[in-house]
Symmetry: C2
Subunit: 260 residues, 2 copies
């Protein structure tokens, strides 16, 4: 469901919000008929404080269970209602939100700023706990992979995703046609610290479930299911059935959204 | 309540366990009349698998809400029942535990090994989120301090805790007499990464709530409430009323227990 970019009918001030959330209890970012969405919760808090505000527009549509530290959204607030500083708005909005959603920052933005269309890039992080026993403190934020992963093979594979590529093989079908499946990945790094494996994936845009497709495939490389080089062929074939599995949602965090 | 170091009546094998837990839902490590303790849960799982096992003895008595990544415990299992490898015991015990408690490792130990009395040192970690809005992903594992902390002043203070000192001013009254309040701290480091402040505190032993007393006092130094140098005087006076507040339990993790 695509929400209209509702504008206020009266002179309004546009604001940019940075929002963090633990996605465990939510049906994703975007308002939808089934389940409670993060956008809905922030929107309700916003309208309690500013009844004339527009609907909040997010930069990204994270899936159910995916987390965020740097979701960006914009909203228009009638000038007659917009009398608080950004800092006060942060405190006031958070007072109306559950503890698993926090507004981290609110700043004034030009009326031309659009959280989604102006985004120049995004950084996602993905966590894996690679040990026979899960770390209980990471159980809602990391994928538990019990079999030992070959990190070198995964790093060899990760490099093959970098650059301007057609990522059709690594994205799930959205249910509707998209113009292009070509995206540019600027980083796909894997760090290891004991059993904790962290992925940093950065690019100018991401297709539906693309990050999870990349991580799931690299894990299968790490398990010896595919050689790293096969990723080149998977990219060329443009067929989701030829690439690896999709990693579970709860290991993924939308870390940052970049604007010029 | 001190549990007897119950031994098996029959020939037994001693095991050393490393246990991790999210302490949010528990009344601490040690079995007690009020509330469910972590020791109790592991003990129940243990006795389902090994009915003749002794009561599990832990290295430390973490408070309600405190977490662990490296709690150590020992248990005796009758030789007639001890037929699994350590790796299988990990899987079997975890199958009988809730997700917020995990047995990470089980190894055979000599019958003289005692998790508490043989411990040569411990490492605790403490997390603080220093920003007006809490990170929702750390809300059960970090103390939210909204006012900006002076890290340099805190580091100056932290150094004064290192060495062999009388920590009476930094420990809560246990309700019973202890032989000595002298302990040796080998590390008290503060790391900062954006709004995340991590403490690493290592020593040969810790008094009741000593870590939380140290962190709470250092936070008050960071807020400008005391100058760092006053810590020397606080240590000398041996009076809990003269030192700073106790930091909340949920920021604390028992990270490692050291044995020779």
């Amino acid at each position: 469901m695509e929400l209209p970019d509702t504008k206020c009918d009266v002179p309004a001030q546009r604001y940019k919000l940075v929002i963090a959330y633990d996605g465990t209890q939510y049906a994703g970012w975007q308002i939808q008929p089934s389940g409670l969405a993060v956008q809905e919760c922030v929107n309700i808090a916003m309208h309690k404080l500013f009844p004339g505000a527009s609907i909040l527009q997010g930069s990204s549509r994270t899936d159910a269970g995916v987390h965020a530290r740097g979701m960006v959204a914009h909203v228009d607030i009638p000038k007659t209602e917009a009398r608080m500083t950004g800092y006060k708005m942060v405190l006031a909005l958070n007072a109306h939100l559950a503890e698993d959603i926090r507004v981290c920052k609110v700043t004034r933005a030009p009326s031309t700023f659009h959280a989604r269309f102006n985004a120049k890039g995004k950084q996602y992080r993905y966590l894996i706990w690679n040990h026979s026993a899960m770390d209980p403190l990471l159980r809602t934020q990391a994928w538990h992979v019990t079999r030992k992963l070959n990190i070198q093979a995964m790093r060899d594979g990760a490099r093959l995703f970098i650059g301007k590529k057609d990522f059709k093989s690594f994205a799930a079908n959205h249910g509707y046609e998209i113009k292009s499946t070509i995206r540019t990945l600027t980083a796909c790094r894997i760090q290891k610290s004991g059993p904790l494996i962290s992925f940093v994936i950065e690019g100018d845009g991401f297709l539906y479930k693309m990050c999870r497709g990349i991580v799931g495939t690299l894990v299968q490389v790490g398990l010896g299911r595919f050689p790293a080089e096969q990723i080149t062929e998977m990219l060329e074939k443009r067929d989701r059935r030829l690439s690896g599995m999709s990693a579970p949602a709860h290991g993924l965090i939308l870390q940052k959204v970049f604007y010029s």
